[in-house]
Amino acid sequence: MATEVWARLMIAAQGGDKAAYRLLLDEVQVWLARYYRRRLPPDLVDDVVQEALIAVHTKRHTWDPARPFGPWLAGIARYKWIDRLRNLKATRAEELPDSLSVGDHGDSILSATVLADLLATLKPAQSDVIRLVKLEGRSIEEAAALTGQSPALVKVNIHRGLARLTKRVEGYANDDE
């Protein structure tokens, strides 16, 4: 079991063993990349992997060898993922990365499927404008014209919809693993 090996490596790393630590980080990096590729747009993955690696480093004293290593690592990965989702939510439409609406490989398809499921839980007025503005890259005015909502209402529905999505994602994150 990989996490048992990682636990032994982490115990050595907590004692200052640099070789064990390098081995651990090399393996954890691969696991983290796989974790985030299923949850984030491809061009964000490396950034978040690095943030998570730094968090593993700065918080390595918070892992108690008496407890399993896997949930601890997954907790850090989840925390950094939710943190990034919050940042995405706070970002304005025109600043969102283009990759949210492109990409044709498996991970993107999986992300799009998850996103579609999440959007389906919102009110139509909210999911329509999020799809148009955030996913298709249309302007607020275009979305307003297409949906019959006023520009101000489009903004409000995007804000409320994203807030609700974030809450749901956090709920999924808590049930994850």
């Binding site: 630590y21 730094i54 480093h57 004293h61 892992w63 601890w72 925390y79």
Partner: protein
Amino acid sequence: MSNERIIDQLVSDLAPVRPRKAWRDALWLGVVGLVELVLVVATSAPRADLAVAMTGPMFWWKLASCAGIAAAGAAALFALLTPEARVDAGRRWMLGAAGVAALIGVVLIGISALPAAVQMTLDWREGLACVGMVELYALPMLLATLLIARRAAPSSPRAAAFAAGLASAGWGALLFVWWCPHDDPLYIVVWYGLALSVGAGVAWTVLPRFLRW
């Protein structure tokens, strides 16, 4: 910067660490509480009728409720300080404590409330002074819990902040019980409830930014 470069830096920066243990944090909070207790006892005298008050049930209900809320807040905080913690674990402790204290209070109010005395028992000047003293007594413990939480890795900073606020306000109220001359259940539910809410609310609002990692 590539992942490999980051890993190189982290490995070169590696130093031995001592794994965090909850009992050490609890011990630290105990020491802070003890020091504060000694300081408070040394600098002020408890309520004049303490001996008489201790013979009645209201004093002990007040004491037990505050102690229970402080303990539940601390338990919730400790449950929330690791990355793998789930918010539900802490929430159960806090809601349970608040629910039990409120229920006991409501029952006692029902038994002993006298309509004519309500205005007197809810003396707002005294009440606000009580709230202020509870918050003052809570401050050292709030700082201690903040230090502990910052060194840990709470997966939900806001929930951890709320638990820290509840624990420290509960502790502040527990200390203040020995000085507060009021034993009326309505007074206690209203003003102690407000003090606990303010302590937890301020922590919930202010502390999360210090707990992100």
